[in-house]
C-alpha cells in the first residue's frame, strides 16, 4: 500500500459509524453526524480540502440528498395515506383466508406480502405489519419475526419506490439503464433462495420439499416482474411490480392448496372476507401503477412534466495535495417528473379514493401529515449527514485512497468481497439506501481501478446491502417489539445471521460468475 496512514485515516469516518452503530448502538442520525464531523476534519487537515472545495462539496451533497429524500418523504406519505384508511390492515387480513396450509401462509404472507409491502412502503414496515399477523396465525414469536425479515430483503433495493436504487444512481452518477439490469437479476435470483429459506424458517426441510414448485413459480414470477420493470425504466415501481406479480400468482396457488391441512395447520380465520373493502384497499396502489405507466409511456406527458429541472454547474475543485474533481453538472432533478413527485400524485389519488369510500376517521389529513413528518425527520437527518460525509470523502480524495488500498489488498478477490462491503454498510447504517450512499462511490472507484465491470460490482453492492439490511439493529428492534419479543433481539439476530450469510454468499458467487462471463 502506497500510503498506509492515509488509507487508515480515510477509513476512519466509516469505521467510526460502524463502531458507534454496532458497538455502542447509536442511531443512524447520531452516528451520521459523528461520521460527517470526522470526514470534515480529516478532509481539511490530512487531505488538504480548502474552503472553496468544501463549499461546492456541501452544495453538491445537498442536491444528492434532496434527490433521495424526495422519494423517502413521498413514499412514506403514500404508506400513511393507505394505513390511515385501514388499507394495509385489510390486505393483511384477507391473506389468511386463502389457505390453511401453514407453509403456504408463510410464503404468501411472510414472503409475497412482505415483498409487496416493501415495494410500496419499506422503512421496516413489512416486519412491523406482518409479525403480529403471523403470531395471530399461531407461529412462534421468533418465527413470526424471522419469516418476514428474510422474506422482504430481496425487494429492498427496488422497494420503497426505488429510494435505495436512486441513492446508488446519485452516489455513482451512473445511468439507471446501466445498473438496473444486473441489480434486478442478482436480487431476482436471490429471491428464489429467499422463498426456500422462508419455508425452512417456518416448517423446516419437509416444507421446502413439499412446496418446491410454488416457491419456483412465485420466485420466478416476482423476480421476472421486478427485472422487467427495472429494465423498462420503471425502477421506482419495480419492487412493487414484483410484489404485485407475487400476489397475483399466490392467490390461485394458495387456493389450490387451501385444504392441504398439515399437522401444524393454523385455525381458519374467523372473520368473513369483505371483497369490496379489499378492492378499494388495492385501488389506492393501482393508481400508482397507472400514473407511473402514463408518465413513462406517454412521451408528451413525460416531456411536459420534465420541463422544470434543477441542475447546477460545478467548477473543477482541487485539494492542496493535488487531487482534482473535474467540473461538471450536479445531479439533475426534474421537479414534476421525479419519482417523489409521482408518489405524491399517487398519494393524492389514493387519498381521494379512500376518502370517497368513507374510510377516513375525522382529522385524518392532520394525522397523516403529522405521522409522516415525525417518521421521516430522523432518516432525513441521517441521510443528509451521511451524503455530506460521502461527498466530502469523494471530493477530498479519501474515497480514492480507500479504493486504491482496497484494490491492492483484495486484488482478484475483489468481486467476492464487494457484496460483503455492501452488506456491512447496510448492517452498520441501518439501510440499503445509506449503504449505497456511503459505499457506492468507493465500489465504483475500486471497480475502475481493478478493471472489473462497474455495473456488476455495483449490483453486488446494492444486492448485498439489501439482503443484509434485514439484520440492521433498527429493523430487528422494530420486528421484535411488534411480535412481543422486546428484549430478545439477540435471539432474532442469531437466527438471522446464517440465513443472511447464505444469501450474501450467493451474491458473491453470482458476482464472480458475472465478472467471469463479462
Amino acid at each position: 500500500m502506497a500510503n498506509p496512514l492515509a488509507f487508515w485515516l480515510a477509513l476512519l469516518p466509516i469505521a467510526l459509524i460502524l463502531i458507534l452503530m454496532v458497538g455502542l448502538r447509536w442511531g443512524a442520525a447520531r452516528a451520521g453526524g459523528a461520521g460527517y464531523l470526522s470526514a470534515l476534519l480529516i478532509g481539511m487537515i490530512s487531505f488538504g480540502a480548502g474552503p472553496q472545495l468544501l463549499a461546492y462539496t456541501h452544495a453538491r451533497a445537498l442536491l444528492l440528498s434532496i434527490d433521495v429524500l424526495l422519494i423517502i418523504w413521498a413514499a412514506f406519505l403514500l404508506y400513511r395515506v393507505a394505513d390511515e384508511a385501514g388499507a394495509i390492515r385489510t390486505i393483511g387480513e384477507a391473506l389468511p383466508h386463502l389457505t390453511a396450509d401453514r407453509g403456504m401462509q408463510a410464503l404468501v404472507i411472510g414472503w409475497v406480502f412482505a415483498s409487496f409491502l416493501q415495494g410500496v412502503g419499506g422503512f421496516g414496515v413489512p416486519v412491523a405489519v406482518i409479525s403480529p399477523i403471523l403470531v395471530g396465525l399461531g407461529f412462534t414469536p421468533l418465527s413470526a419475526v424471522i419469516i418476514p425479515s428474510i422474506g422482504h430483503g430481496w425487494a429492498v433495493t427496488f422497494g420503497s419506490l426505488g429510494s435505495s436504487f436512486q441513492a446508488l444512481l446519485a452516489a455513482t452518477g451512473l445511468p439507471s439503464e446501466l445498473l438496473a439490469g444486473p441489480s434486478a437479476l442478482f436480487l431476482g435470483i436471490s429471491g428464489l433462495l429467499v422463498g426456500f429459506l422462508v419455508l425452512h424458517a417456518a416448517q423446516g426441510w419437509s416444507a421446502m420439499r413439499r412446496l418446491f414448485i410454488p416457491v419456483l413459480l412465485l420466485g420466478s414470477g416476482m423476480g421476472l416482474a421486478q427485472y422487467l420493470g427495472a429494465k423498462a425504466g420503471l425502477w421506482n415501481i419495480a419492487g412493487f411490480l414484483g410484489g404485485l406479480a407475487g400476489l397475483l400468482i399466490a392467490i390461485p396457488l394458495a387456493y389450490r392448496n387451501r385444504n392441504n391441512h398439515t399437522e401444524l395447520a393454523s385455525p381458519a380465520p374467523t372473520q368473513r372476507l369483505e371483497r369490496r373493502k379489499l378492492v378499494i384497499a388495492l385501488s389506492g396502489y393501482a393508481g400508482l401503477i397507472l400514473i407511473t405507466l402514463a408518465i413513462q409511456l406517454i412521451p408528451s406527458l413525460n416531456d411536459w412534466l420534465g420541463q422544470v429541472r434543477i441542475q447546477v454547474q460545478f467548477p473543477a475543485v482541487s485539494t492542496s495535495l493535488g487531487f482534482t474533481t473535474p467540473a461538471g453538472a450536479g445531479r439533475a432533478i426534474s421537479i414534476f417528473r421525479h419519482a417523489g413527485a409521482i408518489l405524491l400524485y399517487a398519494s393524492l389519488l389514493a387519498y381521494g379514493i379512500y376518502h370517497r369510500a368513507g374510510l377516513y376517521p375525522t382529522n385524518a389529513p392532520h394525522r397523516i401529515l403529522q405521522g409522516t413528518l415525525r417518521r421521516v425527520l430522523s432518516p432525513s437527518v441521517s441521510i443528509a449527514s451521511m451524503v455530506s460525509m460521502a461527498v466530502i470523502m469523494e471530493n477530498s480524495g479519501m474515497t480514492d485512497t480507500l479504493a486504491r488500498g482496497l484494490a491492492e489488498s483484495t486484488g482478484a478477490l475483489f468481486p467476492l468481497v464487494a457484496p460483503w462491503i455492501g452488506a456491512l454498510g447496510a448492517f452498520m447504517t441501518g439501510s440499503n439506501t445509506n449503504s449505497n450512499v456511503v459505499f457506492g462511490a468507493l465500489q465504483l472507484r475500486t471497480a475502475e481501478l481493478t478493471g472489473y465491470s462497474a455495473a456488476i460490482i455495483l449490483a453486488a453492492q446494492t444486492a448485498g446491502a439489501a439482503l443484509a439490511s434485514v439484520m440492521a439493529p433498527t429493523k430487528v428492534i422494530v420486528g421484535a417489539s411488534t411480535a412481543g419479543m422486546a428484549g430478545k433481539e439477540g435471539d432474532v439476530l442469531r437466527k438471522l445471521i446464517p440465513y443472511t450469510g447464505l444469501l450474501v454468499l450467493l451474491i458473491s458467487a453470482l458476482t464472480a460468475l458475472g465478472i467471469w462471463l463479462s
Binding site: G27, A55, A59, V312
Partner: protein, 57 residues
C-alpha cells in the same frame, strides 16, 4: 439543555435538519463570489448541526 433536548426531540431534529441543509445551499453562492469568511461561517453552522445531533436520542 439535555432535558430540553429530550423533551423537544422533534423540534431539535427539525432544527438540526435545517442547520445541515439550508447553509449548504448558501455555500454555493458564497463559493461563487469567493467570500471565504462567509464560507467558514456556513460550514460552522453545518458542523454545529452535526454536533447538536450527537446529543439527540
Amino acid at each position: 439543555m439535555m432535558d430540553w433536548l429530550k423533551k423537544h426531540s422533534f423540534e431539535a431534529q427539525a432544527l438540526v435538519f435545517f442547520l445541515i441543509t439550508l447553509p449548504a445551499a448558501a455555500l454555493y453562492v458564497a463559493a461563487r463570489s469567493g467570500a471565504e469568511p462567509v464560507i467558514w461561517l456556513l460550514i460552522s453552522m453545518i458542523a454545529f448541526g452535526n454536533i447538536l445531533v450527537l446529543f439527540l436520542k
